[in-house]
Amino acid sequence: MSWRLFLTLFILASILIACGKDPAIPNQQTINLTIPEGFPQPNIPPGNPITKAKLKLGKALFYETGISRDSSVSCASCHFQFAAFSDPRALSTGVEGRSGFRNSQALFNLAWRPNFFRDGGVQTLELVALNALHANSEFDSNTPEMLRKLQSSARYRDLFRLAFNDTVSIQGALFALASFQRSLISGNSNYDRYTNGKDSNALSESQVRGMNLFFSNKTNCSDCHSGFNFTKEGFFANGLFPAYPDSGRQRITLFESDRNKFSIPSLRNIEKTAPYMHNGEVANLEDVIEGYNLGGFDVQNKDSLIRPLGLSADEKADLLSFLLSLTDNDFLNNQDFQPDND
């Protein structure tokens, strides 16, 4: 090697290492999510673009029990992939077996949701995980304790460095968790393959009848469960219970006009997200359909669309059959969402 070449390489190396920061890391490059056909572009906050490294960190945190007070539970303890990241239990349990007061919601297609939790109390996905961290019935921890635990882990120090070129921080943790949750996209059910023309046999005759009934004025299901994600968003009192100890949206706004109202969930993967409703008190889809068929109870703010439907046994069976066509098995088994082994 000539001395000129040596000096040139030396200068280049000096420039790269002299500032003490890592050079551009490919893992920090923004990546685009794969959007299912028929879905609009998702809402990704400009301040928190999705990167490969953030997804890796976010997934690690999602499955990390160490951030709960007694290291017994993680996000995944109440959000199971086989259940579309919902919880088969009516009410989830956190540290020391403490029970929450609402059924854990499914996690998918969150990049399109305008607000979070059944009462819409949180507007940004970046803040959702804070609730689990602080809630007495979930992680029962706090920010300093969580940071202390993460900072003591060489693995997390490395994951934060790769994701943010920085040390462990609460903002980094929340941003990474939000990124991972935004990547949980479901849009490849039999219904999708049927409607986008990829498989005209994807739905059975019963499912097609159920679909027509679902979108008809006889049931008005699609008045609320509309659009690509089967929800028009917003809050709604369905009156399926005679009394509501949980005031729902009113808890956030304090308006009596919001009492008994809850966010309209997506019906995608509905087969896998039992039990149903805000309190998890409806065990199966048959009972959900029957509850709507009977027209619910006369509670405050109940929506006028909820009225006796007079469905026959065959119609109810067709509706149920259609709802089963919304299951996305690729999503439920996607290896990308399962914990890494490193």
Binding site: L7, I11, D119, V122, T124, L127, L130, S247
Partner: protein, 260 residues
């Protein structure tokens, strides 16, 4: 002057190390002397006018044995007033008696402070209300509004203005360990209240620190001349699940702050 190539590279490398990373070194400007002094506002929690210790059992407002574990609150829009003029102010401060954080410090122009104005709680701007881009995680850990302080209400997009937590002895004999949890988490924009404490008469001098001594009488947080909150029956509020209780506690709290 003729410079050979080795010398050139040596100078180039040296230049990179010296000038490549750091910003220019600036000579600090000569500032005029600061004419202000400092005010310490010191809060002393009391029970029946006696100093109240955290995590120690005392006789509570309902004559039950009570343990106080957490007592944190936000004061905002704090103003030191002298004959109608504001000598000093602070946007927001967090007091945390459980961490022995009982004082706040404000710079103030010289004069005689006759009144202190403050809000208990936060205005909608500080509270991040209706701002979909509000990010409490962006505050430095040392900032009063940092989520590091566990005062952000993650389920309701806003801050807890005041947090009181502890345990009560509910035994009939009143000789058991207090083990019945109570907590009062008061917040939401509607509960912000403004208060003033007059007749202070505290002098501020340039370069010196003066002290304003205030007390927070725990009894009065739960008791007014006409009513007493039964801490066993009304043992918790997240505000929206018992707005009346939260309103009573935070309004009482404001009046429980007095000049020593």
């Amino acid at each position: 002057m003729k410079i050979n190539i080795a010398t050139f590279f040596f100078l180039a490398i040296t230049s990179i190390f010296f000038f490549g990373c750091e910003k220019d070194v600036k000579i600090p400007p000569v500032l005029p002397e600061d004419p202000r002094g400092q005010i310490e506002i010191r809060f002393t929690p009391t029970m029946n006018n006696q100093p109240l210790e955290m995590n120690e059992i005392f006789q509570g407002p309902n004559n039950q044995r009570v343990l106080l574990e957490t007592f944190k609150f936000y004061l905002s829009n704090i103003q030191l007033i002298s004959q109608g003029d504001t000598l000093g102010s602070s946007d927001v401060e967090l007091l945390d008696f459980s961490l022995n954080s009982k004082s706040i410090y404000l710079t103030s122009y010289p004069g005689t402070i006759d009144k202190v104005l403050f809000d208990v709680g936060l205005n909608p701007f500080l509270n991040g209300t209706n701002d979909e881009n509000f990010n409490p995680a962006a505050y430095e850990n040392s900032h009063p509004l940092s989520i590091y302080n566990s005062m952000y209400w993650s389920w309701a997009s806003g801050y807890i203005f005041m947090k009181i937590e502890g345990r009560i002895d509910t035994s009939l004999t009143q000789n058991a360990n207090p083990n019945y949890t109570y907590f009062y988490h008061c917040g939401l924009d509607t509960l912000k209240r403004s208060y003033s404490i007059s007749n202070m008469n505290v002098d501020v001098a340039k370069g010196a620190t003066s002290t304003i001594e205030l007390t927070v009488e725990f009894n009065d947080v739960f008791r007014t001349p006409s009513d007493t909150i039964n801490m066993q029956e009304n043992y918790f509020t997240h505000t929206s699940d018992d707005l009346d209780l939260a309103r009573s506690v935070i309004v009482n709290f404001g009046t429980a702050i007095r000049k020593l």
